[in-house]
Amino acid sequence: MLDPQPILASARRLQTIMSASLMLLTGSALALAILGISDPDRAGQTLARLAHFPAGEMAAWQNWGLMAVILIHLLVWGVLLTLARALFGQLAMGNPAGASGIARKLAYWLWFMLVWGLISQVIVSAVATWGFPAGQRAISIALGTPQLSVAFSALIASFMARAFALGADLWQDHQEVV
């Protein structure tokens, strides 16, 4: 007879880690929002520098545009962490069927994060260089290690979701044998 207690305990620990990460992320989003409200110029220039664009004088709408893009990034991360916390919560309760549905949603959101990552590059490059002289304005899109890492993670998560569904069926089968 299988003893599920060790994996249930691990799932509970991972759920706690996800909760802590979610709180940290919420704190970061709040800090960014406060910085954006109190000093929008500085926040906008910092974000442009982080995106590897020269930080010049930017209009208010550019600062807010860059902050909106970053906040959407943080929101997507928040959704991913919430789903991961729910997934480990279901596993901790010994409900693999519930976990398999959440794993599928997690995989979808990882694919969304990949697409949004590419779209946001275009938005950030256009917004950050909007005020530049003609010829220096840019719309850029890059496909590098970060994008490939997210694509690889999304692919693995998609397969893991299917494995979870199979595992849930096997667990149900196991439960119905006395």
Binding site: D173, E176, V177, V178
Partner: protein, 72 residues
């Protein structure tokens, strides 16, 4: 269901309660009840062995095959 479980008959002839048997063979009363009503997908050999030992019977005394008729 083509397999009929005759565990309740065996318990009655042995004058043993479900609770008592469940305690002796080390499974929950709920699982024993599911087995009695045939609402399980399978029975482990060690469960079957324990039931046969406690009820002093053969596996064939506990189950009966009744083919499903065409009209259900």
């Amino acid at each position: 269901m083509a397999i009929i479980v005759r565990l309740d008959v065996m318990l009655a002839t042995r004058k043993m309660t479900s609770r008592e048997l469940a305690g002796r063979i080390g499974i929950s009363e709920q699982n024993l009840s599911l087995l009695k009503s045939g609402k399980v997908r399978g029975v482990r050999f060690n469960t079957l062995e324990a039931i046969c030992r406690e009820l002093e019977c053969q596996p064939g005394d506990l189950f009966e095959f009744a083919p499903d008729t065409a009209d259900g």
